[in-house]
Point group: C2
Amino acid sequence: MDTAPPASPFLDEAAALLGPRGLTTDPELVGPWLTDWRGRYSGKACALASPADAAELSALVRLCVDHGVPIVPQGGNSGMSGGATPDASGTALLLSLRRMNAIRAIDGEARRVTCEAGVILQTLHEAAAAHDLRFPLTLGGKGSATVGGLISTNAGGSQVLRHGSMRALVLGLEAVLADGQIFSQLTPLKKDNRGFDLKQLLIGSEGTLGIVTAATLRLLPAVAERVVIWAGVSSLHAARALLLHCEGMEGEALEGFEVMPQASIDAVREHLPTARPPLAGRHPWHVLVEVVSDRSGAETLRERCETMMAAALEADLVENAAMSASDAQAEAFWLIRETVPAAERARGPAVQHDISVPVEAMPAFVETTAPMIEAEFPGTEAIAFGHLGDGNVHYHVIAPSVTDGPGWQARDGKAISRRVHDLVTEWGGSISAEHGIGQLKRDELARLGDPVALHMLRAVKRALDPAGLLNPGKLV
Amino acid sequence: MDTAPPASPFLDEAAALLGPRGLTTDPELVGPWLTDWRGRYSGKACALASPADAAELSALVRLCVDHGVPIVPQGGNSGMSGGATPDASGTALLLSLRRMNAIRAIDGEARRVTCEAGVILQTLHEAAAAHDLRFPLTLGGKGSATVGGLISTNAGGSQVLRHGSMRALVLGLEAVLADGQIFSQLTPLKKDNRGFDLKQLLIGSEGTLGIVTAATLRLLPAVAERVVIWAGVSSLHAARALLLHCEGMEGEALEGFEVMPQASIDAVREHLPTARPPLAGRHPWHVLVEVVSDRSGAETLRERCETMMAAALEADLVENAAMSASDAQAEAFWLIRETVPAAERARGPAVQHDISVPVEAMPAFVETTAPMIEAEFPGTEAIAFGHLGDGNVHYHVIAPSVTDGPGWQARDGKAISRRVHDLVTEWGGSISAEHGIGQLKRDELARLGDPVALHMLRAVKRALDPAGLLNPGKLV
């Protein structure tokens, strides 16, 4: 029996262009990439293309234009919003950037790296470390997330407080545009005022304006000293006061400021019995503060942190606090924070929201809206945790019963999300802080986005991708 | 005799909309704004409009659309590239943003300010200082440059090394678009991934995509301690080695790194006899290093700088060095640097270039190209000075004789500029580092710009200003 897929002039030409390593229609090879890692979205594709370089991709895109074939770019397939999953029609070409995974150059003196889109974040971290440098962005999916995906979604993480999101770390960019042209600005210029910043336009565009093929990224000196502080505080307002105190005393050494409610700590203890919370007592909110220094001064970072926390205790900003005494202990503190999402999921079905409001409004936002949600949807529990320093919390609403299933998600879950997004918008916030829009939030963006901004987004999209072949159905 | 200008339906409607304070055709009032401050460009306008707020401007832009009237936005009229001067046709409306000059709010805790486009930089500095904060961007024209103009041109200055150009300091933006819609994103969100960054698109677009009406800007704690170092070095390569040394030892405390050749110091002494260069001896190149700290640690900044410079002397990175002992002395050091442009101009006619190349390539670029220019254009002298830390030098080519006049500028000057721009492009640099394109470099951008980038610039321009009414003849 002939199991070859139905041929098409497009697939024939693409196969001739890319060769056997570059194109496949084998369901076993394509299948795993047709569903997002959280299993929320599934689609079909006419083939999986894996070009070897930007020139090949450029020719492939021209072929797609000729045949009217939509393109869905994909990096590590670890996005949170279904931005890399094709639709169900099967007309789209799934485009993997994973084969383009060379780290082209690391310049230790200029502190930068030029790498291709398919380089995995963890690999980038290791390459930087080998030069006594670091790339100051990390997140849970670092073992699969690729540089191209991180740029296309303007990924965040827990170090945004000090170093900004991906947008702030991209010094140069190479991308293939919707007509196959190669946009090449990999050489970083610290000052360049030749018109508006096209690089910034491509960052965070989720593959709808161009396909990122390579980037030059900023590196920093490796961390020389690091202290992680765990503090118990009486409220989110107190956490915000502690944030201002730490910013005032340590300024740019402050690299992370994460908050968790006591309920999340309880969930972590249940989920990971070996985890040992640094503070024995119970506190309404727990704060994890990361302070780092890239060089040791006369006064060590530890001494400065001790001074800082003594002042915080003196000023009644915290109920109690502990400080990591070693790197292993610092990791143990972080492990608790990093276990919160899994521990929360283990408590039962929940709808999750990646939202932001102005940093100073976050305590009042959570204190005001969590009881509202719990009252409007009886039996639910609203939990917020995450990056207080960025005004970005992960806002979970847990179902009334662990037995609530997909039916609850589809009915109540959807209603809850709409309500949360309404509230965020009322508070001047964003319905997507760091996970992007993808297909998950496209309708909500159309419903709640500023009409003027939407008009601009769509005008730019039409201008740069008039045929609408780049990642259709995502973002705009 | 009736001296009233010829009325037009547009002017009648605009006058009714804006009132007498908002619209004038009086040549005495309009005239001063029709020539750029350097006197290089002169134009005509049908009137000068000064709307009171964004709503009035929005209505005015709709009126311009109805009547097909082009708009030339203008802030302090202190731009370097003729970007705010209308053409000679007299059809354009000159739009002053200077009346919109309110500082709406300063939030000392969140360290940010929301102000209108017409606020003058110096005023912003003073307002920040009153809250024990600072706005970390300054430049020669601070007494006239406005926030709107600084944003529209993505202005730089001498603190870009640490704090970036205007682009990095804008947290929120309000602008009137080409169809009169108001784009309003003044509320800053530290994390917001709702599509590509439209704010970044407007920054540096020189009024061709929208008219900036207000912004929320980042503020920093006031400087607590400041040291200015003056060093004599043997070459630009040595200056670059010193830069790396200072970055390695003081990292984020390093705020400025300016280079000047001995010839520029001589010119300053001639031009400003009271100036006292910090080093008595002659050195091929002089370096000014600014180091600041926003808090005093156990070890003072001065002590750290002494350690840093002792190591630099030990490693033969500098020939000699002096350190400011007081704020007055720090200002005196800076005065010499700031006098260089005027002193260089006083030496005779010259063509000036605001260029950048990758930071690490700058020493070789200057050493290679200056002799080439001087050989190809006999009698000229090529001088470079400025922001070595940003890879951005001001590159002046001085005429063979002080009596060379406008004829030389038009003939040889133009040929020299083309040659310098060719060389910069060959070296992977930018023909506009911080002054923008305006009308001065529009043809050169079209000649030397990357065709793919130009295609994108033009596509976005057409998408957001299809009638081409916003600042026609500038940038794209």
